[in-house]
């Protein structure tokens, strides 16, 4: 038997047990489920008339691709990010995180296991949206599927990491409706979710490229259009990796496992 399987099997079992409980809890939180399901699937269609006004052809975009990219972005924000901020804060305030830390789970396993159902939901939505848009909006098939995959991974990981970080300075589940606003707002405006990055003025666009979810959205959009040079891909992936490193470091440094007394 190799050492790898010996150490990984119990960790997998623990993650599965925790993720299963979290999935049950997610299913019982109607408010969170409603937002997570309805917003990503409906909001993009309400912004579609605005998109139609834009001169997409010049940028090499199609309405279908733009709507789908927006929808996946909304899914990162509302199915993963905000629902996980809520979950981390609720578990901490009920002392669940503290109790879990008395057991065999490592800190990383606790945060990962808690995130798995929301991340899974986000992934399922993204895949569903791809298929739906391809068929209903005649967006066609992705020209560079591997970029899309890369974008999905970056987006899901960063959404979860940002949620843990936001939860670190959120005292109650009610106040998470306020503390989650900056990330949601900045991402919608600057990361190419509510407004396609291609139509932003160049100088603003080059700053907005550095926002945490921008690389993910850029990769997904490019996966659809295939319009990203190898150099640009490397740059975008580097930004995503940098954010991941920063987020992991920040979570390790600042995550709160217990309520403030």
């Amino acid at each position: 038997m190799s050492g790898g399987t010996v150490t990984w099997a119990p960790a997998r079992r623990r993650l599965r047990a925790l993720a299963r409980a979290e999935l049950t809890l997610l299913g019982r939180n109607r408010g969170v489920v409603f937002v997570a399901l309805v917003v990503p699937l409906s909001l993009p269609f309400t912004v579609r008339p605005a998109i139609d006004q834009l001169d997409l052809k010049k940028e090499g975009l199609t309405a279908g691709a733009v709507v789908m990219t927006a929808a996946i972005g909304f899914s990162f924000l509302f199915a993963v990010y905000t629902s996980l901020v809520n979950a981390y804060v609720a578990r901490r305030e009920e002392l669940v995180l503290k109790r879990l830390r008395t057991g065999e789970l490592s800190d990383a396993e606790i945060l990962t296991g808690t995130a798995l159902p929301a991340v899974g939901l986000g992934l399922a939505q993204a895949l569903l949206l791809c298929a739906g848009c391809a068929v209903l909006l005649h967006a066609g098939v992705p020209k560079a599927p591997y970029l899309m995959l890369l974008g999905l991974v970056a987006g899901l990981v960063l959404s979860a990491a940002l949620a843990a970080l936001t939860a670190s300075f959120t005292r109650t589940t009610e106040s998470s409706q306020v503390t989650a606003v900056p990330v949601v707002f900045l991402s919608m405006m600057g990361s190419g979710i509510a407004i396609p990055a291609e139509v932003l003025p160049d100088r603003i666009a080059s700053v907005c490229e550095l926002l945490p979810l921008s690389p993910a959205i850029r990769l997904i959009s490019a996966g659809w259009t295939g319009r990203l040079s190898a150099q640009e891909v490397l740059m975008t992936v580097a930004i995503a990796l940098a954010w991941t490193v920063v987020a992991v470091f920040a979570v390790r440094r600042w995550f709160r496992w217990e309520p403030r007394r």
Binding site: R14, L18, R20, L25, N29, E94, L95, T102, G103
Partner: protein
Amino acid sequence: MNIDEHEHVIEVTDLRRVYGGGFEAVRGIGFSVTRGEVFALLGTNGAGKTSTVELLEGLAPPSGGRVRVLGHDPFLERAAVRPRTGVMLQEGGFPSDLTVSETARMWAGCTTGARPEAEALGLVGLGGKSQVRVKQLSGGERRRLDLALALLGEPEVLFLDEPTTGLDAEGRRDTWELVRTLRDAGTTVLLTTHYLEEAEGLADRLAILHEGRIATSGTPAEVTAGRPSRISFELPAGYFLGDLPPLAELGVCGHELDGRVVRLRTRELQRTATRVLAWAERAGVELHRLEVRSASLEEAFLGIAREQEVRA
């Protein structure tokens, strides 16, 4: 192999814990617990019990001193210690929207060599509640669920932080019985409590914590030895403290008057009791609310608090 590992399951040396605000909750304590022993940390609220236990559980690193559980540092060597310990925190820590059995299943999935969930729930008498949501459980039932989960992995060392707070008399007795059974099977138990009778009835050895320090420790008999016994009664109507025979003559070494109730402390219980009763007989009065108690942990406990106050 180090023999100490087997002798002392828990070893604490000059342990300190200072919180962020500068408050020093644990101020240099030391004790050890041998295998199969029940050790109680006794103290009032704020004495430092939970702060100490959390360091033993490995939830935080000590600010100073050293903790060893089963020969390991419980904070730094988490993976080596956790599969062999069971923990019951002072307060719950279970998602309120899961049922009892969902909670147990989750915890079992996270525990090496877990016994069947139904068996663990049965041990604490929660077998019939498996489909109930945690938020619908009473405070006592939540404590018992917590205990069941601490027992899931059949731990060698069990940390119980105020295991019977919130339980009714019957639940408390059941928990005591369970702890005794576990001890007899070789489990080492460290518990905190502010119930004196719990420490007296359960613990092989105990330490009384006061303001972050160990005020006294030993077996319950050792801790109570040298402590005075107590007699208390209500002064009969029309009588004053001065109407009693001279207190020195009664063998009394200390007294208090609380409204109409007189409390006498004595190291010669029989002599004092006999003379007080003889006086009442002669005076032809009835002593209401009469209580005669030999030295107890309570007396030791109150005595320590009194001594510390005097010093301060």
